[in-house]
């Protein structure tokens, strides 16, 4: 079983590389180099801030776009190309296929993020000439971004398991945007009363909480991230991603592939 999931995961990773997904790294490198050089010339004393803010934001947005656009095609493309039937005619269960696809894309994003992280630290080194201790919090922000990718990948896979690629992209993007404001939503829900309160609260808790995973601004100012936040964000992201993958497994298990 473990072997089969690893095989599907590795294939997904290879396929993403073949699809030139990692080409985004070139755009990222150009963006960061440009910003590092340009901002130093046209602004005062915010070079480091811009490199961290722009770098981490680009890591996050590039990754989310990849997670969504690759994620939505994970199942539908296999059906379209009819390769899914070849895979499922072998001793591979449907759930193994979904879980393998998830790990494959998550692995792609992890590699992509690690490359970008190296770029961010190089740019940091270029603008500030030496790294300081507070810069290590950038690593935590990057870790949170990877957790964010896990959630978005799982959601894209969930939508891909029952919907068309376009609709999956719309759903996943909408949830990503709503999830970025999820704390406000829960705040609003908490102020309602009666049955509305419970319905609003239920919906607010069902939406992924992506705002807690965004610590870019604070780490740009060298602020520390609480250990408890790291622990709970990790637990939450893993649970939520697992839940979405579970949902995808459940739907895909009953999907008529004829």
């Amino acid at each position: 079983m473990k072997n089969r999931i690893t095989c599907i995961g590795a294939n997904t990773f290879r396929e993403a590389v073949r699809d030139r997904v990692l080409y985004n790294l070139i755009a990222f490198a150009l963006l960061l180099t440009g910003a590092a050089v340009l901002v130093g010339q046209i602004s005062i004393d915010i070079e480091k801030l811009v490199v961290i803010n722009l770098g981490l934001t680009a890591v996050s947005l590039f990754g989310v776009v990849i997670a969504i656009f690759v994620g939505i095609g994970l199942v539908s493309k296999e059906i379209e190309k009819r390769t899914l039937y070849t895979v499922l005619s072998r001793p591979v269960r449907r759930w193994e296929f979904i879980v393998g696809k998830f790990f494959g894309l998550a692995g792609t994003l992890l590699v992509n993020t690690l490359c970008m992280a190296v770029g961010v630290f190089f740019a940091l080194l270029y603008v500030s000439h030496h790294l300081q201790k507070p810069d290590s919090w950038v690593l935590v922000a990057l870790y949170f971004i990877i957790l964010q990718f896990l959630i978005v990948t799982a959601l894209a896979l969930l939508f891909s398991s029952f919907s068309s690629p376009i609709m999956s992209a719309v759903f996943a993007f909408a949830l990503f945007i709503i999830g970025s404001f999820s704390e406000d939503l829960r705040g609003f829900a908490a102020m309602t009363k009666g049955i509305t309160h419970w319905l609003a609260l239920g919906a607010a808790y069902l939406i992924p909480n992506l705002s807690a995973l965004n610590v870019i601004s604070s780490v740009a100012h060298g602020e520390a991230v609480a250990r408890s936040l790291i622990i709970y964000n990790t637990a939450y992201s893993l649970l939520y991603a697992a839940m979405a993958v579970c949902g995808a497994v459940l739907i895909f298990e009953h999907r008529n592939l004829k």
């Binding site: 269960r93 704390e183 102020m191 808790y205 839940m243 579970c246 497994v249 298990e253």
Partner: protein, 311 residues
């Protein structure tokens, strides 16, 4: 049981478990980041940019901004926070997006004007907000009434209040009291009867139960104020007649000046303190009271419970 059924059952159980676990984790996360919900973030401070970004759906965006302003004020008020930094910008964005949306002018001005802890203590911006509302909606008598209300109660500029009520009385459908208020401002500004008329107009013209409850609370306070003033006057008369202060209100009853021990709006008897000072039994139970309180009394923040709004 087939393999597919086993997978369905297992993944269903797992799904429910993960949903519960993620919800519980999220609750812990929320407790860790208590200041993060409805935080001090305006996102976009310029009304013009917000309008451009709304892609023509400015009505809906205005509704969202108004809701955000209400929740911002409510959240800060409930938390006992005395600073409402984002309230005015939120209201300004809302009214820029939809100048014909009336609640932000009417209620928003009442959030802005009163001094903390019951408001943002910014009557100048409240006046500016309502003036903008009047410019965009010149036929809405309630806006002139609100303007006069702020001038009267918060700024104590009775001449401007009179002018606002006068303009309001000429708007279509204006409450008959508005014309009387305009007239009263000249001679009786600052007296309890005028204030009573203001709150009665508010009560009668409001549809929102919180506004009505607030008006009732003010009317109760005004009743207590009026009764305390009347009782203290009687105590003075007693002293003038008898040559000494009465030690309790029963002495006024025995001399026939009172028919019985008077009760405050909470139903408890008024207390006579040394040197003819009359006090209510518990001023905390009569929000907005200005008379009949112990020396140095500081009124607590008015809560929804005090206004009878919680079950």
């Amino acid at each position: 049981m087939t393999a597919s059924q086993r997978i369905t059952i297992t993944s269903s159980i797992l799904l429910v478990f993960l949903l519960l676990a993620s919800t519980l984790t999220l609750r812990r996360l929320d407790r860790l980041r208590t200041g993060s919900t409805l935080q001090e973030v305006l996102y976009l401070p310029s009304p013009k940019i917000v309008k451009s970004l709304s892609l023509g759906y400015d009505g809906l965006v205005a509704d969202i901004y108004w809701t955000r302003a209400v929740q911002y004020f409510g959240g800060h008020h409930a938390a006992g926070n005395e600073h409402y930094r984002l309230l005015a910008p939120l209201l300004e964005i809302t009214t820029y997006l939809d100048p014909h949306l009336l609640p932000p002018y009417e209620f928003g001005a009442n959030f802005l004007a009163p001094p903390p802890p019951n408001g943002a203590g910014d009557p100048a911006r409240a006046v500016a907000l309502v003036e903008r509302g009047i410019q965009a909606n010149p036929d809405q008598w309630k806006l002139y009434y609100n303007l006069g209300f702020i001038y009267y109660l918060e700024i104590h500029d009775y001449a401007r209040a009179a002018r606002a009520f006068e303009r309001g009385s000429q708007a279509p459908g204006a409450h008959p009291f508005v014309r009387i208020l305009a007239a009263k401002m000249a001679q009786h500004a600052g007296d309890i009867e005028t204030a009573r008329m203001l709150w009665i107009t508010t009560y009668e013209s409001a549809h929102d139960k919180q506004i009505k409850a607030n008006a009732v609370a003010h009317l109760r306070a005004l009743q207590a104020d009026a009764e305390v003033i009347a009782l203290e006057k009687m105590v003075d008369e007693y002293r003038a007649r008898m040559g000494h202060w009465p030690t309790n209100l029963a002495q006024l009853v025995s001399t026939g000046m009172l028919n019985g021990i008077p009760l405050d709006p909470t139903g408890r008897p008024y207390k006579l303190m040394p040197y003819g000072h009359v006090e209510v039994a518990n001023p905390d139970d009569i929000p907005f009271i200005t008379q009949g309180t112990p020396p140095g009394y500081k009124a607590p923040k008015v809560t929804a419970k005090q206004l009878g709004l919680t079950e």
